[in-house]
């Protein structure tokens, strides 16, 4: 099965078809892609099922998407941020 090519702040990340963005980042060894507003702490996946909102990421310019729920697509541009 062919891999999908995504980027995180321009850096290439690959994903298997059907995987979530959060799973692809996990496979790439990325554990954090957001910093918190109050204390600037790093955050990534926590609940894994769309409940906690720790994993927010900007996807193709749309902010505050839950990485654990968004399906990876070829060419997707992910950006870290400080939601």
């Amino acid at each position: 099965m062919t891999e999908l090519d995504l980027t995180l702040d321009g850096r290439p990340i690959s994903a298997r078809p059907g995987q979530s963005v959060g799973a692809a980042l996990t496979d790439a060894g990325v554990v954090a892609w957001r910093t918190t507003r109050r204390n600037g702490r790093p955050r990534g996946l926590f609940c894994g099922i769309g409940v906690c909102f720790d994993c927010l990421v900007t996807v193709d310019g749309v902010p505050n998407q839950r990485a654990c729920l968004v399906t990876a697509r070829d060419g997707m541009k992910l950006e870290t941020g400080d939601e």
């Binding site: 099965m1 995987q19 996946l45 099922i49 409940v51 906690c52 909102f53 399906t71």
Partner: protein, 481 residues
């Protein structure tokens, strides 16, 4: 507006799937709404069905039960008896005045994954709510570091995406769910350095008939024992994580020992080096839809707020039934039985002849399952000493970064004596997740030590204005789709 369905089922997990197919097979027109894109819920989460795979069932239990339900669902869908709306959340529920029906307001779970043709609103005469739940969490110093995950989330990554959340893991908290998570990690290639269970095995011995009453559970336990032996996974009972350390991700954990009363008695001499902490303390049912309708609730043996239902899964609100974790955390097979019974119950309500023997059998299965769940909860309580290892600067609310100290100050110096006041003063549970993650711990911290939690303590933390985050367009006009 489109047709009014005979039944709307919310949730396509074990309970909702069973409810939807059972109701539809009796000739009722069913709409089945689920936030996920595929049926299965949490227990039967599996890889994307649109991608060909030869090992769909890897890591699953009772998989044939699932494929049986899925086959029936597909057949009913193709006949037009069930309309399945996947990838959509119900963000608001209300009775339609004078119409004898309920309106369910829908929004795509992922904004960019809109399905063409899905309405913003569906109506149904009857409701079967099967919203399941999520891992229950307690704060631990350092639990906001990346690499700390809910045990269920680790499982979801494995089952749904074949992703391994870490290479050296510790699995900790309480409850039988820690076993499949540890086994899943080890089978996928991670080194599980310890499973820390706060309870003690003696807990089961005190409740005769618990585990043995449900044969499939004994079998599962046997399977896990084999996996644990094969991968040399150490099980440490009466053990908790008291601190998680790392610079910008998890690097190590400190373990503590509990006495038989659940109080901390000592710390391990050396920390364990890990890159993944999978943690959970049982589950918290999703109660926002149940409470939005004003249905009666109670506090279950595990201190979760759950819906009150009768012997037919019916709530005290007209034409509303609840099945699965929202009536009490009890596992997937109990959820299936409750869903099936609810399916028959709505059929009966609609005047369909209902098989007496079949429903009596289901009621027996449910009674047995509930007895098992009570024994399980008693053996795996939240340890009495869970506050012992907290520090004032420990994060309680991960969203708003409210600390344990701030919540205790609201209680002790500002005089708040209940969760609602603490929530107003210190604002835990007011962020993105609306208290889903910290709600239980915040409610428990808010009450004076030693007092048991009541429904009035838990309700403010499980009530949500909106059941899901929605766009302004949804709020303004309901006319996307």
């Amino acid at each position: 507006m489109s047709e009014t369905y005979d039944v709307a089922v919310v949730g396509a997990g074990p309970a909702g799937l069973a409810a939807a197919v059972t109701a539809a097979e009796q000739g009722l027109r069913v709409v089945l709404v689920d936030a996920g894109r595929q049926p299965g819920g949490q227990f039967w989460r599996h890889p994307d069905e649109s991608v060909p795979s030869t090992d769909e069932s890897r890591g699953q239990h009772q998989w044939r039960r699932f494929t049986g339900l899925r086959d029936r669902l597909r057949a009913l869908e193709s006949r037009g008896s069930v309309t399945r709306i996947a990838g959509h959340q119900v963000w608001f529920l209300e009775p339609v005045a004078g119409a004898g029906a309920y309106a369910l307001h829908l929004t795509p779970t992922v904004a960019s994954e809109k399905t063409p043709g899905v309405p913003a609103l569906v109506t149904a005469v009857r409701l079967v709510l099967c919203p399941g739940g999520y891992d229950r969490q307690l704060p631990i110093p350092g639990w906001d570091l990346p690499g700390v995950m809910a045990a269920g989330g680790v499982q979801a990554l494995l089952k749904g995406h074949r992703s391994l959340a870490g290479k050296r893991a510790v699995v900790a908290g309480t409850g039988p769910f820690l076993f499949p998570v540890a086994a899943g990690l080890a089978e996928a290639g991670a080194k599980v350095v310890a499973v820390c269970e706060a309870g003690s095995p003696a807990g089961w011995a005190r409740t005769p008939g618990g585990a043995v009453a449900v044969p499939s559970k004994a079998l599962e336990a046997f399977e896990y024992a084999a996996v644990f032996a094969r991968h040399r996974i150490p099980l440490r009972t009466r053990t908790v994580i008291t601190r998680i350390s790392g610079a910008d991700r998890v690097e190590s954990v400190r373990l503590g020992r509990l006495d038989s009363g659940g109080r901390l008695t000592g710390l391990a001499r050396a920390d364990l080096e890990v890159d993944l902490v999978a943690t959970g303390w049982g589950f918290t049912p999703s109660m926002e839809l149940v409470t939005a309708l004003g249905a009666a609730t109670r506090v279950d043996v595990d201190q979760s707020l759950v819906a009150v239902v009768d012997a037919w899964q019916r709530t005290d609100v007209d034409r509303v039934w609840v099945a699965g974790e929202a009536t009490g955390v009890g596992g997937a097979l109990l959820a299936v039985a409750e869903g099936e019974l609810a399916g028959f119950a709505v059929g009966r309500d609609a005047g369909r002849p209902v098989p007496d023997g079949g429903t009596r059998r289901l009621q027996r299965v449910i009674r047995r399952g509930r007895a098992f769940a009570r024994a399980m909860h008693r053996a795996h309580p939240i340890p009495a000493g869970w506050r012992d290892w907290l520090e004032p600067e420990t994060t309680l609310c991960r969203c708003e970064e409210v600390t344990v100290g701030e919540v205790c100050a609201a209680r002790d110096t500002l005089g708040a004596t209940d969760a609602r006041t603490v929530k107003l003063l210190a604002r835990p549970g007011m962020g993105w997740c609306q208290g889903r993650v910290c709600g239980f711990a915040a409610a428990a911290l808010a009450v004076p030590p030693g007092r048991d939690l009541t429904a009035a303590d838990l309700a403010p933390m499980s009530r949500r204005t909106l059941a899901a985050p929605i766009s302004l367009a949804d709020l303004a006009g309901d006319d996307h789709g």
